[in-house]
Subunit: 243 residues, 2 copies
Amino acid sequence: MPETTGPLDPPPGGLLVLPVPGIGEVRPGDDLAGRILACADLRSADVLVVTQKVVSKAEGRLVPIDPEDPAARRRLAEAEAVRVLRRRGDLVITETRHGFVCANSGVDLSNVPAGTAALLPEDPDRSARRLRDQIRARTGLAVGVIISDTFGRTWRRGVTDVAIGCAGVAAVVDLRGQPDATGRTLVATEVCLADELAGAAELVMGKAAGVAAAIVRGVSPDWLRSSSVRAEVVRPPAEDLFR
Amino acid sequence: MPETTGPLDPPPGGLLVLPVPGIGEVRPGDDLAGRILACADLRSADVLVVTQKVVSKAEGRLVPIDPEDPAARRRLAEAEAVRVLRRRGDLVITETRHGFVCANSGVDLSNVPAGTAALLPEDPDRSARRLRDQIRARTGLAVGVIISDTFGRTWRRGVTDVAIGCAGVAAVVDLRGQPDATGRTLVATEVCLADELAGAAELVMGKAAGVAAAIVRGVSPDWLRSSSVRAEVVRPPAEDLFR
């Protein structure tokens, strides 16, 4: 433990969650890593959480959509889906090519240029790896990267931010087999760290408008490893009791 | 903004998440508020997140269970449920009296005395209100309180901590109708703040063994208001596409 800690050092055993303001409007082809590095005072072992919207924009995942046609998003969502699980009016709950089950295949009309819709990144784990690699190449810093998006949930009102891609930080931490405090064995405690980190980041992004990234500082060094949302979080349909 | 900030002050726009270690083993009838206050350096406007396990123990929600009988938990879970949604072997996904849909009605065998099981608090919102009131009465501090538990999710592997009760902090923040950065209107952005706060707290509790509470410091003052998980988060079956 250092003798003195400053306000940007995590307290012992604790975490700091810091917004990254100032990234500004992102356009197709923009150097997103450069934009983030210009605004974020990153340190090694930080986890950088970046919202899907700016990743999709930088990657050019914008498509034209007729703003006058209320069914246009639904058709786009169906085209992005491998399966439609539920319909209610123009809302569809779909399974995307990535394996995510979410509303409207993640097709988003807010905070995008009028007459366009943002699609999810083609491979959000790859997007996270690319950001991580670019940050390492330019600064020498090894950070974890999470791409977050806002999903609804069954049985509970309100949306939360979850991880749709990650690199350099565990998506799921397996505490299976570690003894509990009474010495008996935990049966199943695979914690989806990446979703909790995405949600924590959303808390600071939700405090101000237009903040598209955040830093979580102070994560356990054990959690910083190679990983993937696709491999660790997406539940295969055969395992799933609700599909 | 203060001229100088210490390591236990949240940075501008950010959050601090602090573990509360040292609460120790909790037994039925224990003064949980007193135990927490002895270990936590609380400030007004903090959000205190307390795990269900210690709340259930303090409230005496422990029942005997035959540790040799693999079906004992399932039977207990069924007795605690108003409805069984799915079965897989001795795992049941149930709807509890509170309206939560979760594995085994939240009946928990880990970190409880051998031969006992912990049930969920009878009314976790009331448990949160009681803790908040006791903390205010003893210290004058107005804090938000969240009771958290560990739930699985559909479609995504790994568990996360969510709120089962709250007091003095918004469960769901309604951003509906606030214009997005392009000036258009957001359609539905009701964020389940309480679940994101519970997940953020879990991140610091998961870093060390035996930590049953955490503090989130720096939340937006707008979020500190009267609330209830039951009223704001539990989704009525009629609204639900998956039940």
